[in-house]
């Protein structure tokens, strides 16, 4: 029998359905792989029993000849931003350490209903704030990838760094991620996997610890475009409990996958040629154009003139929303409470938050509080919202000339853990290509394009029209088929 951990979502699901192996065998194989990979620190808690119970339920259904579901028998990793009933949910923070929800997020619930099981809760940047997975209270996640000839630990990207590391290391066939300003796409690019952020509103935010409500969007991270399509179908759908949820049916993305791009126009935004972008990234972008042309698409130059204002606007809007969203972590009702002797309410707030929030979270709360303050609101927040509208308008104009946009996912490949810790602005620049699609709420995905000269993965990003996940997946598939990305990291963690 093949090593089951080499299989992705579709292969596992179909193998279980046809009886090549049982769901329990799959769950056991991944549980074992997870246990061996603690050096990656990809999981905050593991839940092998959850995976086994879900697997046994699938095997029992198969014995009775019942439908096994879209994800039947596939064990996955769950980013620890999704509330899971009876399983600690921390957002990788100290302030929520020990918090066990008595409710299940809509997205995770839908995955369980589609037949998936949970291997554990995946590490992330604290409250999803970070691009390197170095802000977690529970320690850095190491990328399974290393530079050729080096043993130094690399960043798996962030904030969905536990997810990217686990999928790249084959200790999970797929994982959930969330993307506020690149948190699915950038880690996918850093680790040679595929990840899609759907149109804002496709996946319910109910039960997902909020970072920036107007931007947060869940999506799948897996090792192929097809696996992403399958899992996204299981995750998406209207939810009356989320007022920003899209009231639209979920298309059958998996069945409609088609890498033939004849008649499609792919836009190349000239403003994405920025100073400081790695030459190898630009080369891979050129390669991507060739692949898409080969798939039948017409390549057209487009302009997204407000691109350079997107990142500053994002770093006003996201912290502003975060400063308010995180106000509920106050030590009153759940999570950490620091109550020094003789403390009053204000002292309790101060002690709890000082202790419970990490530096990056505090930095963003402070930025957000500042930009919303009287006297600064118009100069920052109102201005940023105008920029956001202009960025969205850029895309709307572009759709007159193209059907999807090709760009690099990140300006560089992965970097050494610790190398950017003292330089938050450079760290923030990691998301420069990812943020515009977030501000506009557009579907966007990263697919592996190859390795750079250091042997590290590079990703290409496809951005699509609103609700056109299919167009994004199809273009991604065309690249995937031509890139032939089969590289995988050495399993140094075993």
């Amino acid at each position: 029998m093949t090593d089951l951990t080499e299989l992705g979502v579709k292969a596992l699901r179909d193998g279980i359905a046809t009886g090549d192996f049982t769901a329990r065998e799959a769950a056991e194989a991944f549980n074992a792989a997870v246990e061996q990979a603690s050096a990656l620190n990809a999981f905050i808690v593991t839940t092998p029993d959850h995976a086994l119970a879900a697997a046994d339920a699938i095997d029992a259904k198969r014995a009775k000849g019942e439908d096994l579901g879209k994800m039947g028998g596939v064990p996955i990793g769950m980013k620890d931003l999704f509330c899971t009933d009876g399983v600690q949910t921390t957002a990788a923070s100290h302030i929520l350490e020990g918090f066990v929800p008595r409710y299940e997020s809509t997205v995770s619930q839908k995955l369980w209903e589609a037949g998936a099981g949970m291997l554990g809760k995946l590490n992330l940047d604290q409250f999803a704030m970070g691009s390197s997975n170095e802000t977690s209270y529970f320690g850095n996640v190491s990328s399974p990838w290393r530079k050729e000839g080096s043993n130094a630990a690399m960043s798996p990207g962030g904030s969905s760094g536990g997810s990217s590391a686990a999928v790249a290391a084959r200790i999970a066939p797929a994982a959930t991620g969330t993307d506020t300003g690149g948190s699915i796409r950038q880690p996918a690019a850093f680790t040679g996997i595929t990840g899609i952020k759907p149109t804002y509103g496709r996946c319910s935010r109910w039960g997902v610890v909020a970072f920036a409500s107007s931007l947060d969007q869940a999506g799948p991270m897996a090792r192929s475009v097809e696996d992403c399509a399958i899992m996204l179908e299981a995750m998406a759908g209207f939810d009356p409990k989320d007022a920003t949820s899209l009231q639209m049916d979920v298309p059958n993305w998996e069945d409609a996958l088609d890498a033939d791009l004849k008649g499609k126009r792919i836009g190349i935004p000239r403003e994405y040629r920025m100073d400081g972008t790695d030459a190898e990234i630009l080369d891979s972008w050129e390669q991507g154009k060739e692949w898409l042309r080969d798939a039948g698409a017409e390549i057209v130059d487009i302009s997204l003139p407000h691109t350079k204002y997107a990142l500053p606007a994002y770093y006003i809007i996201a912290p502003a929303e975060a400063s308010s969203n995180l106000a509920r972590y106050d030590g009153v009702r759940y999570g950490l409470r620091d109550l020094p002797d003789g403390a009053g309410l204000q002292d309790m707030y101060a002690a709890t938050r000082a202790d419970g929030f990490g530096d990056e979270v505090k930095r963003r709360i402070l930025i957000g509080t500042y930009v919303l303050s009287a006297g600064f609101y118009d100069a920052y927040y109102t201005q940023a919202q105008k920029v956001r509208a202009l960025v969205a308008k850029d895309f709307e104009n572009a759709w007159a000339e193209c059907d999807a946009i090709l760009a690099p996912t990140t300006p560089t490949a992965s970097f050494l853990l610790g190398s950017l810790n003292d330089d938050p602005l450079t760290m923030y620049l990691n998301d420069v290509f990812a943020v515009p699609a977030s501000l506009a709420g557009l579907p966007a995905m990263s697919v592996p394009a190859g390795l750079n000269s250091d042997g590290l993965p590079l990703g290409l990003q496809i951005v699509g029209k609103p609700f056109d996940e299919q167009g994004v997946l199809n273009a991604g598939l065309a690249i995937e088929q031509r890139a032939g990305f089969v590289a995988k990291p050495e399993a140094w963690w075993c």
Binding site: C83, F99, Y103, A210, T244, S323, A327, R333, L372
Partner: protein, 498 residues
């Protein structure tokens, strides 16, 4: 015209008043969660995951609360904003689980409206006056802290957390405590007519923030203070009285009024500083990213409009024009939902019983409802069982009176027995002999006997001593033991005496 003025050492001062009334929306569920809103439940028994601001929880607007705010706006003839939006008002407090209150700062659901307060000589309001209403917005209520449960800690009850409030903001158009009192009473009546708030000030369903400033007549507005959470009409008036006099004292002693938030102490009738402008929160308002803007459709507005009842002003005008009631009676009967509801039920019953149009029996019904019936009820005190005061029984009494079967005095006597025992009025009239005699035969017999016994007086009367007519009436009534119908007695006496 008597204008309200504070007499200071330096002359007269005018008082300028604006009110922000917080009214709890009548709705089974909270503004953004499905939790119940019933008053008086066990602490923390009506709290959803959203109300407790658990991680990942999201608000979803409750359509009924929006509907009630729109209907209220329509009732004050206000601009209804098709587009409105929710904003977050950020501040930390233990009774505010989210760390922000969802409110509407920038785009409220209801814009400019107005409310009429009526002239009331007794209260010192010389003439009708329109009070402007700047806006109504909807927002969440906070929870409640309990400081008496533990020696060193405070407890939090989140039952109220997330309950929908309407904040109704007036223009600074009021100039006396009486006008402010009339405004609150009128607003309360409208809310209760519409059914969007039960107006129960004791349970906190309605409370007011009172803005007061003083100025020399004709001068610019002075600096105002805001006294928070005042929960009765009387207290609102007391706050204004106290604040206005305090501010005049401060100004006349060379001081300045600080723009500040104050608290009212009902025990002493005074206000004191709660926080000064320097300590004011920076609420960092911004649009709530969890909620889409509210866009109201025409069909929704049509439904809201169609569901509105006849409102106090319209009802009062109709009572005067169609029912022919006096302005006083019309105003009294329309002041409260219960009053007009009882009156209209009674009026329908009386008209049916007598078989005349409502307009023809409205005046007697109104007099009965406003003065006779309450008088009887009051005189009986605890002996009366209000449950016996049915429209049917009262209509029977009024019908007997209308037909001349009973006198006004008998009507009261019968009603007393009804209230005490619940017996049928007609049965009481028969059994207790509480009927006046309109039977001409019996009266003629009595009249003839009196004429026969008083021939001398008959002569004097016929000789021009008209005043003696009263003597004959009195004698007849006495002979009839007070039960004769006076009109019939008069007629027969006139016929016989010639």
């Amino acid at each position: 015209m008597s204008e309200y003025r504070i007499q200071g050492a330096t002359g007269e001062w005018e008082v300028v008043i604006g009110l922000e009334v917080h009214a709890q929306v009548t709705s089974a569920a909270k503004l953004f969660s499905g939790a119940s809103t019933a008053f008086g439940a066990e602490p923390n028994s009506q709290v959803s995951l959203v109300d407790a601001a658990m991680p990942g929880m999201l608000p979803v607007p409750n359509r009924e609360c929006i509907r009630q705010a729109v209907r209220t706006g329509m009732a004050i003839e206000a601009q209804i904003n098709r587009y409105s939006r929710f904003d977050r008002k950020n501040y930390f407090y233990a009774d505010l689980p989210q760390g922000y209150q969802i409110s509407q700062l920038y785009h409220p659901i209801v814009g400019e409206g107005q409310l009429l307060i009526e002239a009331d000589e007794k209260a010192g309001i010389a003439q009708d006056k329109i009070i402007g209403i700047e806006r109504i917005h909807v927002e969440q209520d906070a929870g409640k802290l309990m400081h008496d449960q533990h020696p060193t800690m405070s407890y939090v009850d989140l039952n109220r957390s997330g309950v929908a409030l309407m904040e109704i903001v007036s223009r600074p158009d009021m100039r006396s405590p009486a006008e402010a009192g009339a405004y609150v009473r009128k607003l309360r009546a409208i809310l209760r007519y519409v059914g969007s708030c039960d107006g129960n000030m004791e349970e906190g369903s309605m409370r007011a923030d009172v803005n007061v400033s003083v100025r020399k007549p004709g001068e610019e507005f002075g600096t105002r203070t805001e006294t928070k959470n005042v929960n009765s009409v009387r207290f609102v008036m007391q706050v204004i009285e106290y604040e206005a006099n305090r501010q005049v004292d401060v100004l006349e002693n060379g001081g300045t009024v600080d723009q500040e938030t104050r608290l009212f102490d009902p025990g002493t009738g005074t206000t004191r500083t709660m926080r000064s402008k320097e300590d004011a929160h920076d609420y960092r308002y911004f649009p709530d990213p969890d909620l889409l803007p509210l866009e109201l459709e025409e069909s929704f507005l049509d439904e809201c409009r169609a569901s509105l009842p006849e409102l106090p002003d319209a009802k009062r005008r109709r009572y005067e024009s169609e029912l022919g009631l006096t302005p006083y009676n019309a105003r009294e009967l329309t002041a409260e939902v219960e009053t007009y509801a009882r009156f209209e039920t009674l009026l329908g019953a009386v008209a049916a019983k007598i078989g005349k149009p409502e307009a023809e029996v409205a005046t007697q019904t109104a007099n009965w409802a406003l003065s006779v019936a309450p008088g009887v009820m009051k005189s009986l005190g605890d002996e009366a069982d209000p449950a016996n005061a049915t429209a049917e029984a009262q209509a029977s009494i009024l019908a007997m009176q209308d037909k001349g079967e009973i006198s006004g005095g008998q009507a009261k006597e019968i009603y007393e027995i009804v209230l005490k025992t619940g017996r049928d009025p007609e049965e009481i009239a028969d059994a207790e002999g509480l009927k006046q005699v309109s039977d001409t035969g019996a009266i003629e017999e009595a009249v003839d006997a009196i004429i026969a016994a008083n021939q001398d007086k008959v002569e004097q009367y016929r000789g021009g001593k008209d005043k003696l007519f009263g003597f004959f009436v009195g004698q007849t009534m006495k002979a009839m033991q007070g039960k004769a119908n006076p009109a019939v007695v008069n007629q027969i006496l006139k016929d016989r005496l010639g």
